[in-house]
Subunit: 145 residues, 2 copies
DNA sequence: GTCTAGACGTAATGTTATAACGTCTTGATC
DNA sequence: GATCAAGACGTTATAACATTACGTCTAGAC
């Protein structure tokens, strides 16, 4: 059994476990953020049965920057930007409240402002959450004048 | 019965309902963010019995900017800054993971950066969430070298 | 071979949030 | 003053999100 992970169409890292690969693969194919339970439902056929199996995989994936948690949604997305893997930098997300689409972007100036505020205040930052909720270009176009 | 809300030590607005006043008062006296269920527990003696009573009050209070929801904590704080009431501007929070203390601050430059990204992308922002998790000055001092 | 660290599986439970219903008060209108 | 609509309220039930606790299995270090 040389390759126990056969059948997958993409490899993100060489040392993911089976559950981690399944969860990341599910996120990668999704067009909108998925909750842990959404992911679980999509992986029942692969043998996953308990939330904890998903949460454990998500913990590792988010630690490594391969996936992100959207706090304002209690949901997860696949990382869209190879650059952000593992760096401590802040990533920002724009989340469409209508279609669910998420755009991931980095604004170094924002990161820098938050860090300078922290330094001035004596606060030692560990992680930053930056999320904008609203309507994406397409959804706002199909609604307003 | 000219004053049905007698017995409270502070008035934030003249048109809060009893439940809204109770919830806001509880948040105002807390030294750390409270979950809706924390608030409920502290208001049992006042007659509150169901989560929805608290959630409904919190909805109104956050709409008006009198309280804030911390997304990364699923908890709530009293607004610390009279200026931010009701304006659409983004407020940022630094949350100490050790002692729970929350510092609320405004960085207009961040707000401005996020808005300019939105404009450039065609995204129409409705609300922004900016939260830093880490250690406050005191807690980092009592831990580090 | 033995030990340990880490991933895993499972069951049970804890925590956060909302749906669905009917009632009550208030204020506008006729 | 009767009627009506809007909004806050109270209650029950349930949905959705997340973790604790426990035992097993495997791979690598020694």
């Amino acid at each position: 059994m040389a390759d126990s992970h056969a059948g997958h169409d993409h490899v993100w890292a060489d040392d993911l476990t089976r559950n981690q690969e399944l969860v990341l693969g599910t996120l990668a194919h999704a067009t909108a953020p998925l909750s842990a339970y959404d992911i679980l439902d999509r992986l029942r056929d692969e043998g996953l049965r308990a939330p904890l199996q998903v949460y454990r995989a998500l913990d590792k994936l988010t630690e490594r920057g391969l996936a992100h948690r959207l706090e304002s949604l209690n949901a997860f997305v696949c990382c869209a930007d190879a650059h952000c893997h593992g760096d401590g930098g802040s990533t920002a997300f724009a989340i469409c409240d209508r279609c669910g689409k998420v755009e991931e972007f980095a604004e170094p100036a924002i990161d820098s402002k938050l860090r300078s505020w922290s330094k001035a205040s004596g606060f030692v930052p560990a992680r930053m959450t930056i999320e904008i909720r609203g309507l994406c270009k397409e959804c706002s176009a199909s609604r307003g004048p």
